[in-house]
Amino acid sequence: MTEFLHMGGYGFYVWTSYGLAALVLALNLVAAIRRRRSVVRQLSRRLKKAV
């Protein structure tokens, strides 16, 4: 396990790369879902006002 994390001495570079990739994917997903929610919330507020 330690050997795996060590990555033949390149652990820092390899794991930072994979960590960044995970972060970029996660943020993309969160941002997309939040954008959708905020639009729906905005529209329903507007509709209630209109009624």
Binding site: S17, N28, L43, L47
Partner: protein, 245 residues
């Protein structure tokens, strides 16, 4: 074909289809990513020259491919938007831009993290790296330009022209390693003869690339749906939909 084209271009129709596609694409994306990570980190042997450091390839190359694919996709949408005035094209481009920018950033950052141990430097101003950095600025430029114009039609027309002009950068990125002397290694897969990579390394690379591709479509569809609701807020089907929710 023509009716299909128009039906697909209709925001309401697209909204429904996209909603049904998201869970399937998302599931497939996850499966491919788990398989790719497993093969890439546990099964693929170390590289005979670069040791374990080459494993960065499994996130770096898919990110770099996506950075270019998304741009070309947006430029395609721009061409269709300018010629046929399909409403949906603007939605797709606006939803794609932040995703494309983030993949470009990821390609640059992981490239830097790979360059440091292999070349001894985080960054060089060579053709490949510089043209990829320009790609990031093209994405950011498109987003800034689009945001600065209030009317969506005018904003999309201006943005589309920027996208089409910037597409010249894509072949430059691709051929930069052949046209100029550069520190960046030449293409691994897209060579005319045999790819210079063993299948045990190629498999995880292709799996990761495919899963990144699906990830793009999933986030694109979620964002595009939000964008459609926002733009079509005055139409009755959106009102019905929001009322139900």
């Amino acid at each position: 074909m023509w009716t299909w084209f128009h039906q697909f271009g209709s925001p309401k129709y697209f909204y429904g289809i996209a909603g049904r596609l998201v869970p399937w694409l998302g599931g497939a994306c996850l499966v491919l990513m788990v398989a790719g990570l497993y093969l890439g980190l546990f099964v693929a042997p170390p590289d005979y020259q670069q040791g374990e450091s080459y494993r960065i390839i499994f996130v770096h190359v898919p990110a770099a491919w996506m950075s270019m694919f998304i741009y070309v996709f947006m430029a395609g949408a721009a061409a269709v938007g300018l010629i046929w005035r399909v409403k949906l094209t603007g939605v797709i481009a606006v939803a794609s831009a932040p995703i494309g920018a983030s993949f470009t950033f990821l390609a640059l950052a992981t490239g830097s993290l790979w360059g440091k141990p292999m070349w001894g430097t985080w960054w060089v101003w060579d053709a490949r790296l510089t043209s990829e950095l320009i790609l990031l600025f093209l994405y950011l430029g498109f987003m800034a330009l689009h945001n600065s114009i209030h009317d969506p039609k005018t904003a999309w027309r201006a943005g589309a022209i920027l996208l089409l002009v910037g597409v010249i950068n894509i072949p430059i990125i691709h051929y930069s390693v052949e046209w100029w002397y550069t520190l960046h290694q030449p293409a691994t897969i897209t060579k005319i003869d045999k790819p210079s990579i063993h299948w045990s390394m190629l498999m995880p690379l292709l799996l990761m690339a495919l899963s990144f591709q699906l990830f793009y479509f999933v986030t694109l569809l979620i964002r595009a749906r939000a964008e459609i609701l926002d733009r079509e807020r005055r139409s009755s089907w959106v009102a019905d939909l929001v009322n139900e929710a």
